[in-house]
Symmetry: C2
Subunit: 353 residues, 2 copies
């Protein structure tokens, strides 16, 4: 006998089963199932009676039984390296909202950097309980990719490349270019960059691209890039603050503008500049990427990457796929919009070197 055979302790009342509804409505369980799920033919009359009976009993289908019998679980996994960072939590909001609208549950898998990477990949792949998954900024080794395909779980990536799977992202290279070109257009020649770590941390592929965009734009304008001005601050406010404090310390050899790969870093840079007595944009122009809410108070010029929308769009594509749509693993590129505020301005009269 199964575990549920006995009376349940907490309330002493077993939840109604589909069978109970069938009896009450005077139809078979098959008809109840069809009436409630909307699949197959059911007469309006039977449907109404079933619905009323279900209502009266407070019946809700058993998730597990339904999943076991049908093979579908209306449950989608979301894999991300962090939840306490702006980009990820914002994408997650988008994903969660879209999934809720569609009536799907969301199972969260947080890598915490790489701490649970192995566990997540193993557990989440093997326990066959997901209809599909959204992977946010998740670069995969070839063997990992292999596993993923073997598991046969439809997957869509957000915010980074994902071999063989459809993805939703912005054009990070272009973003880097445009941000830098904006500064160049204002007359800046001495432009530094603040980005994330290049290596070791495998979950920030966009780092490389935005930095490359900066380099390309600089090169395209015939400007040289000082390697000492290519800094790493790991996308954090405080990290950027410290880096910027160093970068801007020497009044005779400092950049006139900074392109930060995230708004948090951009804001940290502005704070550091002010602490050093510099004015923004008078002495230093700063541009970020994100449209992070903190940017407003800082008057930060930025490129809005519509993080939330990236999340909702990823879900839309996943659902299209699940309902039999085409599964061409195309990379959908969302536009990033320039948001002009007050942290960038024309370069001041040349000062130092």
């Amino acid at each position: 006998m199964a575990a549920n055979g006995g009376p349940r302790g907490d309330t002493g009342v077993n939840p109604p089963r589909l069978q109970d509804v069938a009896v009450r409505a005077g139809v078979s369980t098959a008809t109840v199932s069809r009436a409630l799920s909307g699949k197959g033919h059911v007469s309006p009359r039977a449907r109404a009676r079933v619905q009323q009976a279900a209502q009266e009993l407070g019946f809700v289908v058993s998730y597990h039984a339904s999943s076991l019998a049908s093979g579908r679980s209306r449950n989608i996994g979301v894999v991300l390296p962090h939840v306490d960072r702006w980009f990820f939590s914002t994408v997650l909001e988008g994903v969660a909202g879209a999934l809720m609208e569609a009536g799907y549950d969301l199972t969260l898998y947080n890598f915490e950097g790489d701490r649970y990477r192995e566990t997540v990949l193993t557990d989440f792949l093997l326990r066959k309980r997901l209809d599909a998954a959204v992977a946010v900024s998740l670069p995969l080794d070839p063997p990992e990719t292999e596993q993923l395909f073997a598991a046969g779980i439809p997957l869509v990536g957000v915010g980074g490349p994902l071999v063989g799977a459809p993805t939703v992202s912005i054009d990070d290279l272009d973003v880097g270019r445009r941000a830098t070109q904006h500064l160049i257009g204002l007359g800046h020649r001495r432009i530094a960059h603040l980005g994330g770590a290049e290596e070791g941390r495998r979950y920030f592929p966009m780092s490389r691209d935005r930095r490359d965009g900066w380099e390309q734009a600089m090169a395209g304008a015939g400007l040289t890039v000082d390697p000492a001005w290519s800094l790493i601050a790991d996308y954090t406010f405080t990290g950027a603050y410290q880096q910027a404090k160093n970068l801007l310390a020497d009044p005779f050899h400092r950049p006139t503008a900074v392109f930060a790969s995230s708004d948090e870093m951009a804001a940290g840079t502005i704070l550091a500049a002010r602490d050093l007595g510099l004015t923004v944009p008078g002495d230093l122009s700063v541009i970020g990427v994100d449209a992070h809410p903190i940017g407003e108070a800082f008057g930060l010029t930025t490129l809005d990457q519509h993080a939330r929308q990236q999340g909702t769009r990823a879900v839309e594509r996943l659902l299209e796929h699940l309902s039999g749509g085409s599964d061409e693993p195309s990379n959908e590129v969302l536009p990033a919009h320039f948001v002009a505020r007050s942290s960038t301005g024309p370069v001041a009269a040349p000062h130092g070197t």
Copy 2:
């Protein structure tokens, strides 16, 4: 016949079932189940053979079948009003980590303010698929509480009161008092407060308590509270920035110190003060609550509420409960620690009024 009867499309290979393992190991399915789950008596020899067979086949138990048969799902729900705000995402990190360690899955329910409140409460209560749930800052109506109990899902609350359920939180009243007393101890008499909205938004019960703590500390020191100095900024940086801009505009009638109920608001206040040409802590002392990473760069004095730990602790209590521990619905109060930095200092020579 059930849906899975036919061959599966994607890989053309059906995943191995427990039955397959049993055949390969030369034992019964019952023994396989016992060997793999660790429950019941199994000889070392049989266990080894089963494990090897499972390994070779790449067998993993079907989550749904196991849950249906056992009534347990190793799946815990987390309900919160936002995921893109520091407190919530940090608690979520803690919860997710603890759950992962314990081998539980985590299903996320995001209210998005109150947008999905109804849906979540309904769906999540009725579809019997959770072993338990963690509710973060979730005040419940009496009927909602009723529902929750009727569903019989063990529940623990974080960061706010939850009638009839065990909770984990800090003492917000005390936090408000201590923060204010710190300022009073430095000689401040004119102290403003920045908090969240009192009404309408039902998910910030801590707002009221911290504000009350401020009022109590003021009263305790024989100081009066100017209602105009009790501001609402909804826990956001930019909201606080705007409020503080107004608050601090009049040089002859402004507070010498601000207690903000969150670090983000405290940081926004500091930025506003600087924009107005005030120095911190020279002209204005600011203290927050949270130990938000952004506070470091601002030199923000704060009370660390160990948000992440609140999450892990909640999970610990839940798991204790699930493994038959006592279920006294006690409120566990975690300590908040004072973090001295540079945003608070002795009051300057009296100025205005």
